[in-house]
């Protein structure tokens, strides 16, 4: 076994298998890499590629029935000795001494990865108690110090709070503080920014980088986003179905990729750098066409006093996509729901032009009118898992709005089959349940359901945020294809400027309930006038390691103290 001085962890031919009823599933099959002090290795791949299992194998915390079946994981310890982690008993004391002390880990979902009923100070300090038996008072001091390092405001009060009192980005900072508690040599980060906004993601990536430099840690970073890889990696390992497809320096992987799969992954991010071809080719929508939706001075204040939507005016023309962009808490989702009257805005007008040319104010529409109008204005949701009933077959889910519209029998069956084909699903799969489909396919089911009753306007709320980058452009392409075929208009809500840039004709930027900038997408993207827009744009990871932008990004600071907190 040869190891250079700076090598901390060396994985050789790692195999992790899951014994299932249908046979042996090789989640990780022959993966090798090594981690250097102060360097970042990114493991990249789509969901199901085995990248997470690789990370978990190192600490032997693979979920049952997964087991390390072969290979070695050499850890070079601070005292000069070396140990093979793969040989240790997963429940034994030896591996426990490594976990959290020499190798620490952070996870994707900071909410569910932290206990909701324990104070964060307690959870952060726990590793100190376990590994060093640090007394309580000293532990508290150290936790406060850690909270300062991860830049959580007012650490003295934050330490006694619970996770649900923090925002997503702050929760991830808590996770990082927890991982740093024992000054580990290696930090494993398993998709730590996937559940976050683009701007929050940029901040967390920044923080990890800085802490890595000050602590001299090796970082193993798991992600599906090639843009993130380009921003932070020193070395890249591309995985597909448990195997390594390509391994090399970040520059080599991006600028001279050898493997087709790598090229495809890079391609899917690079595509989102520009406007979609299908949109470049299309003739512009006449600026004087009578708008389908004309919202004027709409406002909504929640009973808590939070002004979620503040004097919003916008128009959507027939056949057009209007993008609404902003970070979480900007009120964009609430605004979208007001359009369907899921929430009732207190002021303003929502003028909707019906097919016969007459206009109706959705804000004042009564129940029977709304029932009819909700056939014309429909919604696609973010979470493709939560928004499909697990107890209904795909055929039943898509048929639901049709049945409500009174369709029955053979006509209904034919229509469902037609819809499934339209969104790129096999009609033969209609008897299957949602869990049998991948994330991208589930979102297609959601789209089929939305277009079933031939709507005219679709409000898509973060429709692609839960998907891998490689699937994102596919779903967006599908939505644009359907738009052209069916003459649909979209209100496309997203926190990600890159998807907005890819498919929207016009865009409105929301910040704290207000629209701070609106205009043609090209103009807003290339010549933003508002600083907040500039901040959003500069937070998008740039898929070129030779031009790293996140660290020099533009940060927006609100001019006044926010009332909404």
């Amino acid at each position: 076994m040869s190891m250079t001085r700076d090598s901390i962890l060396k994985v050789e031919n790692l195999q992790t298998f899951f014994k299932t009823r249908t046979g042996l599933f090789k989640a990780v099959d022959g993966v090798s890499f090594d981690l250097q002090r102060g360097k970042t290795l990114c493991v990249v791949g789509e969901s199901g590629s085995g990248k997470s299992v690789t990370a978990r194998s190192i600490l032997q915390i693979v979920d049952k029935p997964g087991k390390i079946a072969g290979g070695a994981i050499w850890l070079n310890r601070a005292d000069g000795t070396t140990v093979d982690l793969a040989k240790l008993d997963p429940r034994g004391e030896e591996i426990r001494r490594v976990r959290g002390r020499e190798i620490a880990m952070i996870f994707q979902e900071p909410m569910s990865s932290l206990s909701p009923v324990h104070r964060i100070g307690e959870q952060i300090g726990e590793a100190l108690r376990i590994h060093f038996g640090t007394p309580k008072a000293e532990r508290r001091e150290r936790v406060l110090d850690l909270l300062r390092q991860v830049e959580i405001p007012r650490p003295e009060t934050a330490i006694d709070r619970y996770t649900f009192e923090f925002s997503g980005g702050m929760r991830q900072r808590v996770m990082i503080a927890m991982a740093l508690a024992c000054n580990p040599q290696v930090l494993i980060a398993d998709e730590p920014t996937t559940a976050l906004d683009v701007t929050t993601q940029a901040e967390i990536l920044d923080l990890i980088k800085r802490l890595q430099q000050s602590h001299g840690m090796a970082v193993l970073f798991i992600t599906h986003d090639m843009g993130v890889v380009a921003e932070i990696a020193d070395e890249v390992l591309v995985m597909y179905r448990g195997r390594v497809m390509e391994h090399g320096s970040v520059d080599a992987v991006f600028h001279a990729p050898k493997d087709d799969y790598t090229k495809r992954l890079i391609g899917s991010v690079v595509r989102l750098e520009h406007k979609a071809e299908i949109r470049l080719k299309r003739a512009d929508i006449a600026a004087d066409a009578p708008p389908l939706l004309d919202v004027r001075n709409m406002s909504l204040t929640f009973p808590s006093g939070l002004k979620a939507v503040d004097d919003v005016s916008l128009i959507v023309r027939p056949g057009e996509t209007l993008g609404i962009v902003g970070e979480s808490g900007s009120g964009k989702t609430t605004m979208g729901r007001c359009l369907l009257r899921i929430y009732d805005p207190q002021a303003g007008e929502i003028n909707y032009r019906r097919a016969d040319g007459s206009s109706i104010d959705l804000r004042l529409a009564d129940k029977p009118q709304l029932k009819e109008l909700r056939r014309e204005v429909r919604m696609i949701f973010q979470d493709p898992v939560g928004s499909l009933s697990p107890r209904k077959t795909v055929g039943q889910i898509i048929a639901e709005p049709l049945k409500l519209a009174g369709m029955r029998g053979a006509e209904l069956d034919d229509r469902v089959a037609e819809l499934m084909q339209q969104v790129g699903l096999e009609p033969a799969w209609r008897e299957r349940y949602p869990h049998a489909f991948s994330g991208g396919q589930r979102q297609r089911i959601g789209i089929a359901r939305a277009i079933a009753v031939k709507p005219r306007l679709i409000v898509a709320d973060e429709a692609t945020s839960a998907l891998d980058v490689s699937l994102r452009s596919q779903v967006l392409d599908l939505m644009m294809k359907l738009q052209d075929e069916l003459g649909l208009s979209y209100v496309f809500i997203s926190h990600d400027m890159s998807v907005i840039r890819y498919m929207c004709d016009r865009v409105a930027v929301m910040y704290r309930g207000r629209i701070v900038e609106a205009g043609d997408t090209d103009q807003v993207v290339n010549r933003p006038t508002h600083d907040y827009t500039r901040a959003l744009l500069s937070a998008i990871p740039h898929p070129d390691p030779r031009d790293r932008r996140i660290q020099n990004r533009f940060r927006y600071v609100a001019p006044t103290v926010p009332a909404n907190g």
Binding site: R91, R96, G100, S113, S115, V117, E126, F164
Partner: protein, 328 residues
């Protein structure tokens, strides 16, 4: 937190009022009243009563007045003077009859609750952690078995086994020597010797339900990501189990207190009749049979009050253990 408790307390008041009305209506539901039952008894013994006497008695007991007025008089008595009315049959104030028995009922219920929790939690944990093992299947089988056997049958069976095979004195809470004796250490010891059998018999039915709930809760929690996080910190498996998933799985269990308590109390009534325990159970049965309305009504009311207090306690406990609830 204090505001939360205050709000819960305020909510308890209308519930109590509704319970008292329902209790009173239930007592009135069977056709006739105490006097009709009494007349029927006398008639069956060959005696005849003049119609005038009945009318006079009805007036004396206030039974000729409309129902809402009788309810008003009863409630006013309770609230203003702590007077629960008079037992027709025994001719004594209800208060005098029930306090000592209510004490035993309360003691029996609390002991049963403690027993059920103390046994159900470890068994539930064991069968969740060792899911689909022999011990899990055994616990599951026994749980469903005891869930299916009615209380009275269990009481009879337990009494038979204990007295015939082990020669224990069963029935009642004391040996004959101690029933009327003043309280002493020896009497307490005697009580301890007797009380465990009814506690087990009453508890077994609820025990089964709690084991199943604990197992299901814990199985949900065991696969949560925060368990992996704790494991990645280097915590030992046992400490991890107790500190995280078990701690969270207990929360839904605490809220079961609200319905376990009524189950225990109604179980206690039936078992007490079979095992002739000096609790409210046999008294209530007798009062209901005789249509002794103030006695029966007061008993039902007090038992319901205990249940509402139990629910209140479970709400407060839940708020103490789960910070997410305190917020709302």
């Amino acid at each position: 937190m204090l505001r939360y408790i205050a709000r819960r307390l305020v909510f308890a008041i209308p519930t109590l009022l509704a319970v008292s009305i329902i209790a009173f209506i239930i007592i009135q539901l069977p056709p006739g009243d105490y006097l009709t039952t009494l007349m029927a008894d006398w008639a069956s013994q060959g005696g005849a009563v003049e119609a005038g006497t009945v009318a006079a008695m009805r007036e004396r007991y206030g039974l000729d007045q409309p129902m809402y007025f009788q309810y008003y008089k009863w409630m006013a008595g309770i609230l203003l003077h702590g007077d629960f009315g008079i037992s027709f049959e025994l001719g004594k104030p209800v208060t005098e009859l029930i306090w000592s028995r209510l004490g035993f009922s309360l003691m029996l219920s609390l002991l049963t609750l403690c027993f059920v929790w103390a046994v159900a939690i470890p068994i539930g944990i064991l069968s969740a952690v060792r899911q689909y093992s022999i011990s899990d299947y055994a616990a599951t089988f026994l749980a469903f078995f005891f869930l299916a056997v009615p209380d009275f049958l269990m009481a009879l069976g337990a009494m038979y086994v204990m007295s015939v095979w082990f020669g224990q004195s069963v029935g009642g809470l004391f040996s004959p020597d101690y029933v009327d004796a003043p309280w002493s250490f020896a009497k307490l010891l005697d009580l301890a010797n007797h009380v465990w059998l009814p506690v087990i018999v009453i508890g077994l039915g609820s025990l089964a339900a709690l084991v199943r709930i604990m197992r299901a809760n814990l199985l949900d929690e065991l696969s949560k990501p925060y368990v992996t996080t704790a494991r990645a910190k280097g915590m030992s498996e046992f400490e991890l189990l107790i500190r995280y998933p078990v701690r969270l799985a207990l929360n839904p269990l605490i809220s079961t207190l609200g319905w376990i308590l009524p189950a225990v109390i109604s179980g206690e009534i039936i078992v007490s009749v079979v095992m002739s325990l000096p609790t409210t159970g046999p008294l209530l049965l007798r009062a209901l049979l005789a249509q002794d309305m103030y006695l029966a009504g007061s008993l039902i009311l007090l038992i319901s009050v205990l249940t509402i207090i139990g629910t209140l306690i479970s709400d407060i406990l839940l708020a103490m253990t789960d910070p997410r609830i305190r917020l709302t």
